[in-house]
């Protein structure tokens, strides 16, 4: 589903290269964990997948369903099924969460040529998803992410992911800022979305999240490249021995 080939990318403004020859393949139905020390390019990778304009791809390609997505803007990628759960979700003052959900869902439906969702159907879907995440419907009347706690923001991200039903989910440090109870709820939400048609890229610094979202593959990133790949055992090994060994080996 996702094929990243010899990707090189830099910060557009400064020209600093961050991704240096990254290769990664994630199949449909697969949950791939991306781990690595701070500054290894994990978050940057998630932004580049979503099409953030601050980064320039200088070499290589990103294939999604066999097609290059490099020329697509973020909205087009989203409509095609790419979803990024942000590490730091943005506040949108004055725009109620419910209203935002409606606009987002219907924008994507329109882009795909589907009819807009009727309000009662939308409400039903939202209620169901919010229930799974133990979110209060009253919260959805508040402006998106404004005054939300860290945990509430992360739940709101997963809620959007559940409602937009993407094919490729990229989760950037979704565990940061979550206490253990919230982490379980969020992980349950993510696990419910696991399906043979859907791929997930779970970016995390710690093994902890992977106890709840058990990955099929684990990839270690260092200085903008994948330096080691393995199964979930690799994550446990990292937990025990730290990154130094692997990162050192590669260097």
């Amino acid at each position: 589903m996702l094929e990243i080939k010899n990707l090189h990318a830099r910060v557009a403004e400064t020209g600093t290269e961050i991704i240096r020859g990254l290769d990664l393949t994630v199949k449909a139905g697969e949950v791939a964990a991306i781990m690595g020390p701070n500054g290894s390019g994990k978050s940057t990778l998630s932004y580049i997948l979503a099409g953030r304009p601050d980064y320039e791809v200088t070499e290589g390609d990103i294939l999604y369903d066999g097609q290059s997505i490099l020329e697509m803007d973020p909205a087009e990628r989203a409509a095609a099924g790419v979803f990024l759960a942000f590490q730091y979700p943005m506040e949108i003052p004055g725009v109620a969460t419910m209203e935002f959900l409606k606009v987002a869902i219907n924008s994507q439906r329109r882009a795909r040529g589907d009819a807009e969702l009727k309000i009662p159907d939308l409400l039903k879907k939202v209620k169901e998803a919010a229930g799974t995440l133990e979110m209060d419907m009253a919260m959805l009347k508040r402006p998106l992410n404004v005054g939300f706690s860290g945990g509430e923001k992360k739940r709101a991200e997963i809620l959007q992911m559940m409602l937009l039903e993407p094919k490729l989910c990229v989760l950037d440090e979704t565990d940061s800022g979550l206490d253990i109870d919230a982490l379980k709820i969020v992980a349950d939400g993510v696990n419910a979305l696991r399906s043979p048609e859907r791929a997930m890229v779970v970016i995390t610094h710690y093994q902890r999240l992977l106890d709840y979202i058990v990955p099929d593959t684990v990839h270690v990133l260092s200085r903008g490249r994948v330096v080691k790949s393995g199964d979930k055992g690799l994550a446990l090994e990292l937990e025990k021995n730290g990154y130094a060994g692997i990162v050192g080996e590669a260097a």
Binding site: A50, G51, R52, P53, D54, D73, P74, A75, R77, A78, A79, F83, L84, F86, P89, M90, E91, I92, P93, G94, V95, E99, F100, V103, A104, N106, S107, Q108, A111, P143, Q160, L164
Partner: protein, 504 residues
């Protein structure tokens, strides 16, 4: 909100030019020659069949105006205006003194249909064709929504006022100011010029000399006006100025909500609009005045557009009275406008809610004045400025607490949002308190639509233009909520349209 969606669709539907009201209506016009002198003023007065005192008032203003000079303190720049190069009177020929819509040029009616804003007005204007059959009008309004009575002003004259009978039954007078001068001279004489005196400022004085029409509203004691009142202003003729004069009086315990909408055709040359609006609220009365201003802003290179130099002031003359201004300013090449409140009565309240959107080469210098004279007076100012393109957007506000205004309170919040790197936002507050018990708060923020925010919204599948409209509509929500519902939807659309093409 469906409005956000509609905004985008509407934006998509616009081809090259984004100003949809830029058409010109070809109707026969009765026009005075260009230029300004006492003869022209006599002509206007005669055309209106005015009493002698009115003519005298005008002439006195004109003589005073000749001694005055244009104000230069606002943060706007434009070439000198040649006041002799303007027609001061233009009227659709066939509508001299219409009594019903049947007498109105059908071309004119089509114009109002084409204008399409506000929706409610269009509906009612169409419905007016069945005037004298109020039941059918009720049917049009089928869903139990509010009715809106409309006074339409085309260039210099009021062409139609709707729902007159129904309003009269409630004791409300709603007519053109020309008609009021003829039919209700005592009321007009008692109040006209008492809030904005002849000598007030350059443009107000000019208006006093040459105003040609406008609306008049009188709500008697204890009456809650049974429907929204609305005036629709349109400048059609070339080289004409529009100088309208509006006077609204709410007697003791009365309530009225009044809406005003404006558009003009696209022209290469600039046109002048200098209106005066006076509001008077007596004891326990409340006046709510809403404006959606969409005069032609000029083309993308800054050519053409309306110069909008307007004096609007409300006088909370009675105890516990309240005046509330809400404005959505999206049009005009230059806007110079400060709707103000004189809080004279004890416990009176003034409010100013404003959204000012500038794009292209537009220049806006707008704000309010809150003059606290009475005890326990309260004012509230919420201003949202949005600048895009190469425009400049200034909030200029004055809060002044006089010596005897014990326990006066003001809260001011001015937020500016910048889109792009070539525009400017400026906040110029003047605050003075001569009474130590005053409590004044002022908050101001300036922000840019951040790349982060935009990326986040787009990542959810919302295309760029739509994402900006969504963020901006969120930014102005607080003010939009103050508008009557029909206008709120229109205002959101307008904001979306005004910002079209604002991101590269």
């Amino acid at each position: 909100m469906p409005a956000v969606q509609e905004t985008i669709e509407q934006v998509r539907n616009i081809d090259v030019d984004q100003y949809k009201y830029g058409f010109e209506t070809l109707i026969e016009t009765d026009k005075a020659p260009k230029g300004l002198n006492e003869d022209i003023i006599r002509l206007i007065s005669a055309k209106k069949d005015e009493p002698e005192w009115m003519l005298e008032w005008r002439l006195e203003a004109f003589r005073r105006w000749k001694t005055m000079s244009e104000p230069t303190w606002a943060r706007v720049s434009y070439p000198e205006i040649d006041f002799q190069d303007i027609h001061y009177y233009a009227a659709p020929k066939s509508t001299a003194g219409p009594t019903s819509l049947d007498e109105v040029d059908p071309e004119l009616l089509r114009t109002y249909e084409k204008l399409g804003i506000p929706l409610k007005e269009q509906e009612i204007l169409a419905g007016v064709r069945k005037q004298g059959e109020p039941s059918e009008l009720d049917a049009i309004d089928g869903n139990g929504g509010r009715k809106v009575a409309v006074d339409a002003v085309f260039d210099s004259v009021s062409v139609v006022t709707t729902f007159k009978k129904e309003l009269a039954a409630a004791g409300v007078i709603f007519c053109s100011i020309s008609e009021a001068i003829r039919e209700h001279p005592d009321l007009v004489r008692k109040y006209l010029g008492t809030v904005v005196p002849t000598s007030d400022n350059y443009y107000a004085t000019l208006n006093t000399a040459v105003f040609t029409d406008g609306s008049f509203v009188y709500v008697p004691k204890g009456v809650r006006c049974p429907m929204e009142l609305s005036t629709y202003f349109r400048i059609n003729e070339k080289n004409t100025g529009q100088f309208e004069r509006t006077l609204i009086i709410a007697e003791e315990g009365a309530y009225v909500s009044y809406l005003e909408g404006c558009t003009a055709p696209q022209r290469d040359e600039n046109q002048l609009h200098a209106a005066v609006v006076e509001l008077i609220a007596l004891d326990d009365a409340e006046i709510k005045y809403s404006t959606v201003q969409n005069w032609y802003p000029g083309d993308k290179d800054g050519k053409g557009g309306i110069y909008n130099f307007v004096t609007k002031r409300g006088d909370c003359r009675g105890r516990n009275s309240k005046i509330s201004w809400t404005q959505v300013e999206t049009g005009s090449a230059i806007t110079w406008k400060y709707p103000s409140c004189i809080l004279r009565g004890d416990n009176s309240q003034g409010e100013f809610y404003s959204i000012a959107v500038s794009n292209g080469h537009q220049q806006i210098d707008s704000g309010t004045k809150m003059l606290h004279l009475g005890k326990n007076t309260v004012s509230r100012i919420i201003s949202k400025g949005i600048s895009a393109g190469k425009s400049n957007n200034t909030y200029r506000g004055q809060v002044s607490v006089h010596r005897k205004a014990t326990n006066a309170r003001n809260f001011t919040n001015c937020d500016s949002l910048l889109i792009g790197n070539d525009c400017g936002a400026h906040t110029v507050p003047y605050i003075e308190a001569k009474n130590a018990t005053a409590k004044l708060e002022h908050e101001a923020t300036t922000s840019k639509i951040s790349e982060d925010q935009l990326f986040y919204v787009m990542q959810r599948g919302i295309p760029e233009e739509e994402a900006i409209a969504l963020i901006v509509n969120g930014f102005v929500k607080e003010v939009i909520q103050e508008l009557p519902m029909e206008f709120a939807v229109e205002a959101q659309k307008l904001i979306g349209i005004s910002l079209e093409g604002s991101v590269g």
